[in-house]
Symmetry: D2
């Protein structure tokens, strides 16, 4: 009973166990079809409209391929020989498929405003007896849901299983780089997956890579770095997130303070506005539900709510420029000017930093030490990636990204004449030069 | 002031006029981001989550490229010389961009149930003074909106302009074949666009193709045929459409007869349930609004409404088999069996035909005569495509597709034991063989 | 001991047996690196410079993938059950790798002039004790070379093994369509290999395809048809073949009649000019050897030899137009005009037909009956491809291609003035219209 | 009179001037079809069989696209305004097309042994009155050949013209990265050409890039670095070059000392063995001529010549390991062991370093200062690439590559028994560990 899904990244996705098919058919998993993988990024790259469903089956497929390769080339012969025990296949496949199950609409921003936690939600959906996912998993064994959840939480004892889906080079990251690259239409994320899979090897402490594949691994790290720089940190997408964040904040404020006259569409959101929501409430959310609220709010009598909803739905991003620790001191002045021009600085200005650590070697003193990428040499000794790749070394342990200041595009003086606020705009623009905040001349 | 959008199909989309940029920034055009290009097809091909926005800018881009080629190689020297008059560029670019502006969510099914008409809507949005699109177009000229609309309605006097976006080989079809092929991950729609553009030529009666490009044009027709067979007519997508259609029918029925206890999410749909809607009501609809209604209905007390909403949102397609004029006579019997098994035949059974005419030569006796594809020979005489391509000839003027009967998958007897209804299922299954309805043995 | 070769078509080629690696390392197989897969086609499509080596390892790889799929999904349980017996793997892999081993430089034309036979040569290289290939194969078993040769000759008893590399949809054809498409840079040959492999099935009489893959098989047939029309039959490549053929004919004539003053480069060719060659002589030939002869001949005192060598090496193709049974009668007149213009009609004019039968159903009355493509339905009955595909039916059993007349481009009168022969050219041109020979007005 | 060539990298190559078409049709340019772009690299990556012809037309096409973009967006208005003067188009297109015209077979190695110089040859072919290329160029103007040659020699006064084809990011490098990546089937060289072209800008001192395209330029530099590491420096290709070099050295020695009994194939090489060659002699060389010599030498009575010819033609590379300044001291000992095992150390051992400077900022103290890559900011000031890209900075000004020691694979002791020389092999192997020369334990 092999079934296949057609997939643009992996060509076909092979479903070979009933439990995987049953999981895909649950309502909790189908819900991922209605949540975009990249949230506001599709406002910048219009092709990036793919869902978390599509990414989830992709992570499953890469994991399946790794299991096949390990089973063919490195099958365990006896306990603890550091080779691959194919009895772990089913738990790692389920974990791969379900690892993003708890994501909600516009996850990052939503969580920030409503204090939800998608990782906790993933665990809850897997382990709550009321979900279809839990019922499917229980057919494998009474504790199987908890086992799957522990893989995702990285507490599962077998490091090969954990690292397959959570490490600095795992099935999750490999799928999203390839997929996001394909759907955005950029080429930066397009590393050589088959080569990396070919040099992957199980060992006692997890997963390592044959030294002959060093450049393929290096290319993956560089690709990841470039996708962050070019796609994930794009200022326009971040601007749309800033608007979204302010929009939800305004709604929350209006609901709490004013008991916002909610009309129906907003009902599904009320539990989050009040802070009292159940798992079932959470599972009713998706991008469409939020956008439907925004469509209603766009016609609201509250001017700020209405305008922010309009800016979000109809894509009118804020303008942004880089800001640095040295120039943060100008923010109060700039806020004052924005206020003079008639905008609420609270709702129309913000800063946002996008930082990522593209790769790091293991650091026991770090709060969050990472499993470093190691390569295995002819004599079976291991060497850490950045020790032999100058390219990787150049970005190891260094955060990359920038902090930006967002404000209404209307503040720019260019091409304006006979505008009442022109002097305000001109005052504002003196702080902006070469895409950054500067000391005024 | 050239701007670009990154696009996976055309790499970049070049925006070279302010009016085009302004049109893209209107709320009516941005709404197309929230409507999937292929509706229920993403239930079969999970990558096919791209929007009508993405297709619309693609059609614009192909049209822009055609204009560039025509302007470079075939610029009109004097009136009526059959060459390209670049003064037509702006009207054809606007028409290309806006040709799908009136589409709503799940267009085909929605129109069928609620008697809306997306072509009329496109015209209305363009010509109604209340829309942002209309205001942008009016800046070009007072009658410019009507000119653009007439291109889309094919009443514009210049046949080159009309055929660029509406013929058997136009920018619209070329973009959707390439785009749908890319996002579904199939390869059938992948013809050679640059070659076709290179052999395109303006002439007095419209657009023709140099004979040297015959095989590229042939390949496009064959690709189109194959995409219909393999993607657009896929039984599972059609099954999801059948469910959607019955779901909307049920809601309409409940509203009319029972005054369905509507909770809020459904408010935006009420004008369509009552049949009294405005253009503004229509512009509030998108996929998310409908899905939000379905999420609410899934919890409804009406068992049929709730079950159909569940089947649609959580992807539980009906089963289907081919049916023919000869075997249609068994439908009443099959309906009886379905009813015996406890299903409302009205809501759980249906037939659906998917037919397309992949290509046709011009036929003056046809109700809807098509502009045939003609190739220009060395001596400037024209020859019709199917006259010189046996492949195209084999599918010319012949409808392709099939009619299918849809019913609950539960009617299949296989793998069932100790089921009260097993004899009913077995009786039903005697009519099913090799994926079609047959005379029972 | 798995080794891989990097390949642009299959990404990696997996070598999993020592015998395969050893075969690749033989001098007879390495020689294929020096013979272009498509001969004169690279004069039309400059990317098509790939060698028979590259195609041969590609055919091996597809065959290996089929074996893997068959072994995984359809392993034989007992003798004659129609499933796949993996003991056949090694013989079919060797046959796949070696099937083109006997090809020489510009195979088709060379054979025509010197009466060599590449199929016989393949057998000879495999079975002659003097070759490295034979010695490698003998390590598997004393009769193993003959077994491998019999697979290539289609006399091997197991029809699955034979059809894997010789049928209307075999590893050979599938590789060359994809490979030639990739290197020419055309898109016509780009069908869906993984889908076809997925629906392939062994059965008692050979190989069949699941009915669900009908459209993928159809697409492959159409792709094949299009590659013939667009690439393999290209008039310019055929023109270069005509020149090559006349060049070799002239050399043979000069050698026989005049004892052509051969300088050294030609030594390796002498055995073929005299008609007395050994297998070892044949194995010394490659594209470079022939081209080196031509470079020497280009400086020869024989004007025809020298001019034809120049036209071939420096790419000055003859012009060509279509000719038909009705217009063949004008050839003598045209030859007379060519002669009047100063060309030897024997060496500067020719006709050449390129016909292919893109697909045929089995016909017991045919001289050369083909194994037809059959699809297996749900009830295990078989149906022939053209019976259910109108596209395939339209090209089934019909030869496609054309016959062309080749002559010096100098015969065209266009753009000539003050030319002594202008009246001759004009007389000639009256027979040419719309790329074909016609009755003069 | 626009003509096109089909190209796998650029899809189509557009020929828009008669002089370009005429240049392509010269015998000197057609000769490039018979010289592989990557020499011995096809022994490692069998797809890399593309010719210098294919690369040359590719460089032309990229240059043509740059001219189009510059003419459209940055046309010069008056002398010395730093914008693009389209009168330069013809000279830069010719230079782009012809920049590699002087390459011979296996260029690098051949030059090393026979002291030829492909850059000088390029100039000679362009400027010698006896060549077809010269005659075609002269039709443009009497000094036009010299103008074209001066662009290639970088002495042409217009820096935009020179940098288009010779700088750290020029049409030459951009084409070969994309092309070599495509034909090898690796993905490392696949940067975003259209994005880079879009951000290219002419300015007074040459060519610069808009700051918004920084990441695309960065990606190109990284791609280049990776192609060197992964493809151009591949140890097996370098090993084949070492064999080739020794083979030619042996032939030269035999000819000089012994008056090697040359049979005919070698005639074309004699002028180089004696050191007295003309331009015409040089133009008679190509890969096939050299390989034909090798095929004859393979049957020679001189054992070393014959064995090296066999190793080269039949691909039996030497083995190699890394060596460093610290371990070079072991070479004499290793040579002694190789000699003891019966090999001439002079012909069977060698070291070879492959170093490249992937990118460098301008350094006035360098022997060979490079034009650095500069990006233009909003305020029109320039910033050097490595100053803003940590990735590029990490590889700026640092040579990358390695030095390797080559020796007969037979020296490895593994899998040998009952071999007379086993103690010698074992002594040798003590110096080899983890792919490098080490101090023996």
């Amino acid at each position: 009973m092999e079934k296949v899904l057609r997939d643009p990244i992996h060509n076909h996705i092979y479903i070979q166990q009933q439990v995987i098919l049953d999981l895909i058919n649950t309502r909790e998993f189908q819900r991922l079809r209605r949540i975009k993988q990249l949230g506001t990024t599709s406002y910048t790259f219009h092709g990036a409209e793919h869902s978390r469903f599509s990414h989830s089956v992709g992570v499953y497929e890469i994991t399946r391929q790794i299991c096949d390769l390990f089973e063919r080339n490195y099958p365990s012969q006896k306990k603890d020989d550091g080779l691959w025990d194919d009895n772990e296949r089913i738990v790692v496949l389920c974990a791969a498929l379900l690892h993003d199950l708890g994501h909600g609409p516009y996850s990052h921003t939503f969580e920030h405003i409503f204090s939800t936690d998608h990782e906790q939600m993933t665990t809850d959906i897997i382990t709550s007896p009321q979900t279809e996912v839990n019922q499917v998993l229980k057919k494998v064994g009474p504790n199987f849901p908890e086992k799957v959840a522990s893989v995702i939480q990285k507490t599962y004892p077998d490091p090969q299983v954990v690292q397959m889906i959570s490490s600095q080079i795992d099935a999750d990251r490999m799928d999203y780089l390839l997929r996001d690259s394909y759907f955005t239409g950029t080429k930066y994320g397009n590393f050589d997956l088959t080569r990396i899979l070919r040099v992957m090897r199980p060992y006692k402490e997890g997963i390592t890579f044959d030294i002959s594949g060093m450049h393929a691994v290096e290319d993956y790290i560089v690709s990841r770095f470039q996708m962050y720089q070019q796609v994930y940190f794009h200022p326009v997408s971040r601007s749309m997130e800033v608007i979204l964040s302010h929009l939800l904040k305004r709604a929350k404020y209006l609901y709490t303070v004013n008991k916002l006259q909610l009309n129906g569409a907003t009902d599904l959101l009320v539990p989050f506005l009040t802070g009292e929501y159940s798992l079932n409430d959470y599972l009713h959310l998706d991008d469409g539900v939020l956008n439907t609220c925004f469509a209603v709010w766009r016609d609201s009598g509250d001017e700020i709510l209405s305008d922010l909803a309009h800016r979000f739905l109809d894509r009118h991003p804020l303008k942004s420029v880089r800001i640095s620790p040295e120039t943060r001191k100008y923010i109060p002045t700039l806020e004052k000017l924005v206020t003079q021009a008639g905008y609420s600085a609270e709702y129309y200005m913000d800063t946002n930093d996008s930082y990522d650590l593209p790769y790091d070697a293991y650091d026991p003193h770090s709060q969050n030490p990472r499993t470093q990428i190691e390569l295995i040499q002819n004599d079976q000794s291991l060497v850490e990636l950045s020790a032999i790749s100058p390219l990787v070394n150049s970005i190891t342990g260094k955060v990359s990204g920038d902090e930006r200041l967002f404000f209404p595009r209307e503040m720019l003086a260019a091409n304006k004449q006979n505008d009442l606020f022109l002097p305000v705009y001109e005052a504002f623009d003196r702080y902006i030069h070469n895409d950054q905040v500067v000391a005024p001349e």
